[in-house]
């Protein structure tokens, strides 16, 4: 048992090392100095507190979108529509925040609830169409992404555009203070950890961690989780066991969509305090990679999100402090991710085999 846990920690670590080595080779071939680039990358992400603050901030929406994909996957569905659910959820909580001026004790939970309910309803469209007509959820969720982006684009350009706005990207007006999720630096400073007030890390990160626990508990310890996994593994046997796969599909897509909706909260309620058109830039899609890398396991998803957070943060730093072209940074980022994914599987199996043979 302990060995098994060790393997599942060791495998991804080795995989990351392997991936960074491959990344270094590619950089070298392209005429960059890999040591310098990696130094910049690490200095700005994981070797100091502020760097970590940015990394975790980046990881926050990824945790939600990774959970959304993973939950759907457990129920046998591919939710490619997290990006759309994210926009709908983000807009819903933004609307609540610019419309109602309430005390944060109710404002924050209701804001979250808005993101969940609307994200969930957006997800349910695909679940219902699949359950009722057998329409494939991949196609439906992809199309719903376009609709969600266009819809929020329309809303933020027209009825909800901030009056007198100068920013070239359309945005809503600022949220009332009642639905703003505060940053964490005051807390850290109180405990003597110096975190700069410019670090956008906010309490949404902790909410994300709480949701990891909730999702795990839900899947592993409740009858609904049992039914979702049963349908995901074998719909026929589930039907025979008295579970209605159609109901489960709808439930799964609602919950997955709700998590997708929450992925929009970090930016709206915790960072910009408004809805900015097109702010996500693929967080929902990255969730697919996060879920796969994290093996659909909540703890794995947290670590995978952090890895992506580091790479994003590092990319920004490389852009600012090195001459490496931005495109190349993207390439290296992608290569590292690919090799982590391959290496993780490969090393996991290798270690498993070694373990078996040593028995």
């Amino acid at each position: 048992m302990i060995r098994r846990i060790l393997i599942s920690i060791l495998a991804p670590l080795l995989a990351v090392l392997l991936a960074f080595s491959v990344g270094a080779i590619v950089m070298y071939i392209l005429g960059e100095n890999p040591f310098y680039v990696y130094k910049i990358l690490l200095i700005n992400s994981v070797t100091n507190i502020n760097g970590w603050g940015y990394v975790l901030f980046n990881a926050t929406p990824l945790i939600f979108s990774g959970l959304a994909v993973a939950l759907a996957f457990k129920g046998g569905l591919f939710n490619i529509g997290v990006e759309g659910q994210l926009y709908i959820g983000a807009f819903a909580c933004a609307w609540f925040g610019i419309t109602f001026n309430v005390h944060p004790v109710i404002g924050i939970p209701i804001g979250l609830l808005f993101a969940m309910i609307f994200g969930g309803l957006w997800g349910v469209i695909a679940g219902y169409l699949k359950a009722r007509f057998g329409a494939h959820e991949v196609i439906i969720t992809i199309m719903l992404n376009f609709i969600a982006m266009a819809l929020t684009n329309y809303l933020v350009n027209n009825p909800f555009k901030e009056p007198g706005q100068i920013n070239p990207i359309p945005q809503t007006k600022e949220l009332f203070s009642g639905s703003i999720i505060p940053r964490v630096y005051p807390l850290f400073n109180k405990f003597g950890v110096s975190l700069s007030s410019s670090v956008p890390l906010n309490y949404t990160f902790f909410i994300a961690i709480v949701f990891c626990v909730i999702v795990w508990y839900f899947l592993e310890r409740t009858k609904w989780g049992y039914e979702i996994k049963a349908v995901g593994l074998n719909p026929k046997a589930s039907r025979y066991g008295g579970i209605n796969p159609s109901h489960i599909m709808i439930l799964v897509m609602f919950l997955s969509g709700a998590l997708g909706g929450l992925a929009g909260v970090n930016d709206v309620m915790g960072y910009r305090y408004r809805f900015l058109d097109g702010f996500s830039r693929g967080t929902g899609f990255t969730g697919i990679a996060v879920a796969l890398l994290g093996k659909n396991n909540p703890i794995g998803i947290v670590f995978a999100s952090i890895l992506f957070g580091i790479l994003d943060r590092g990319a920004l730093a490389m852009d600012v402090f090195t001459n490496t072209p931005r495109e190349l940074i993207r390439v290296i980022q992608a290569i590292i991710i690919i090799f982590v994914a391959i290496g993780n599987e490969f090393i996991f199996r290798l270690l498993q085999r070694l373990e078996r043979e040593s028995e």
Binding site: R221, T222, K223, W224, G225, Y226, E227, K229, A230, L233, N234, K236, A237, S238, R239, Y240, G241, G242, I243, N244, E357, E359
Partner: protein, 498 residues
């Protein structure tokens, strides 16, 4: 030249918690039909998978035609001339028969599949072995017996000299079994060697030249056909002989289940049937005559087009499997791997399937893990399910033990009516006897049991009455004590009708 085409020495294979093969030595002569028998979980499939290169042994050597070989993958086995038909078929259902046969050994001409030359070669192959299948039909539309022939042709097409058949008869009806045996005899005449695995001692005695008996991972006997009879084999396999079950005769109770005019064209026509407390009603029929649909209708997986079903005088044909189960109708589905079990769930999780949302297994939506575990442990003990723990995934249990998980689950909750479809398929003789005794003691307690089986022996020895289904109709309700198997066969093939 060696006398043996295949020899293994010291083959040992551990799985977590079990020693599946323990120093296994088998010797297969060139040109013989060699049976391997043994209880569920004895390690037969594991051994065959090792010979076929699907599993690597921990230790041990394999000699093929006298030479030591390393079979690290099936492609190496195929190159050597070893072919295997698995216990669970490995065909691609939406592909046609010929596409399945050539899969992995496609003949390409100008960049496309050369269908004409393939099909003519396949026809020649089929003629020479007296085997024939409709090449153009999709495998999903073919019956189990034909699918099996597709698998056989596939092996021969790859030039297999040694054919491994893992429980080939488990899914076949009697006529198909006889047909398979003729094919095997034919193959033997042409010099092929066959390894045959079965739990049916009659079949083994009918077809083999030699027999190897395995028990708990070890070889415990190697016999010539002449030295073997049912009794010696049973004693070697399970350490005791078997008695055939005796049906105590007594008055049956009141009617609990009644089918009135059930129709589902074109599969079923006007089925009327009653099931009484304390009886076993056998259902006999050749596969594809509507019994599958009939059982699915009774258990709520399928809706009839016309007709009504009464359970204790309450109409139930519109209810789903869950409500029927709550009323007290248990179901042992025929296909344990796709319908009965969720293979990637643990034993415990499978055992509560269908009750998982009821107390005490879940309380206000929360799974009650200690109770679930306790029930599972009880069932595993009561039904002698060989699993190293109840947290083991059902996928890793042997076929027979998988079936016992289903039986344990259904019996544990004491249904009033039990619909049992092929409950002993793939089970060893000891487990079969145990299931038979369980069915009989349930009958004694007053359970009403509808038993469908393709094993006519089973139907004849266990049933109070036998309903025969042919072409979607019940063509007769017979008493097994007044007829013999041959008469039953006449009804089943539609020659006779009441």
């Amino acid at each position: 030249m060696a006398e043996y085409i295949l020899e293994t020495r010291g083959i040992t294979k551990h799985f977590p918690g079990v020693l599946a093969n323990d120093n296994v030595e088998i010797k297969i002569r060139q040109g013989e039909i060699h049976s391997i028998i043994g209880e569920n979980g004895a390690g037969k499939t594991t051994l065959m998978n090792i010979i076929y290169g699907l599993i690597r042994p921990d230790r041990g050597e394999i000699f093929y035609r006298g030479k030591k070989v390393e079979i690290s993958s099936p492609s190496i086995a195929i190159r050597l001339g070893i072919g295997m038909v698995h216990q669970h078929f490995m065909l691609v259902p939406p592909f046609t028969a010929w596409e399945n046969i050539i899969l992995g050994k496609e003949v390409i001409k100008n960049g496309v599949l050369d269908k004409d030359s393939v099909c003519s070669e396949l026809k020649r192959l089929m003629d020479s072995y007296g085997l024939s299948v409709p090449l153009e039909e999709r495998v999903e539309d073919l019956s189990v017996g034909i699918r099996q022939k597709v698998e056989l042709i596939k092996l021969l097409y790859r030039g297999a000299e040694l054919l491994i058949l893992d429980e080939p008869t488990a899914l076949l009806v009697p006529q198909e079994i006889e047909e398979l045996f003729e094919i095997l005899d034919n193959l033997k005449k042409q010099g092929k060697t066959v390894i045959f695995i079965s739990h049916k001692l009659k079949e083994v005695l009918r077809i083999s030249d030699r027999i190897t008996v395995m028990r708990r991972g070890k070889v415990v006997g190697e016999l010539e056909r002449e030295e073997a009879n049912e009794e010696t084999l049973a004693r070697l396999m399970i350490g005791k002989t078997l008695e055939s079950p005796q049906l105590e005769v007594y008055e049956r109770g009141e009617e609990v289940l009644r089918l009135e005019g059930i129709s589902l064209p074109p599969k079923l026509r006007n089925i009327n049937l009653s099931l009484y407390k304390g009886e076993i009603l056998g259902l006999a029929g050749i596969e594809g005559n509507g019994q599958k649909e009939l059982l699915e209708i009774i258990t709520g997986l399928l809706r009839p087009e016309k007709g009504r079903i009464f359970y204790k005088n309450r109409e139930v044909q519109h209810l789903d499997p869950k409500s029927l189960r709550e009323l007290g109708i248990g179901f042992i589905p025929e296909d344990r791997q796709t319908t009965g079990l969720i293979l990637d769930f643990t034993v415990a999780e499978n055992i509560i399937l269908g009750r998982h949302d009821k107390e005490p297994y879940s309380i206000r939506g929360k799974l009650n893990l200690p109770t679930i575990k306790k029930t599972a442990v009880d069932i595993v003990k009561d039904y002698d399910i060989r699993a190293s723990s109840v947290d083991k995934h059902v996928r890793f249990l042997s076929g027979g033990n998988q079936q016992k998980v289903i039986l344990g689950r259904e019996f544990y909750f004491e249904p009033e009516v039990l619909i049992a479809s092929q409950p002993t398929r793939g089970l060893d003789i000891g487990a079969t006897e145990m299931i038979h005794n369980l069915l009989l003691s349930a009958r004694r307690r007053g359970m009403a049991i509808l038993l469908y089986s393709s094993d006519l022996d089973e139907i004849m020895t266990l049933s109070d009455r036998v309903a025969v289904i042919y072409n979607g109709e019940i063509v007769g309700i017979l008493s097994p004590r007044e007829i013999d198997e041959a008469t039953l066969g006449l009804y089943m093939t539609g020659v006779r009708k009441d």
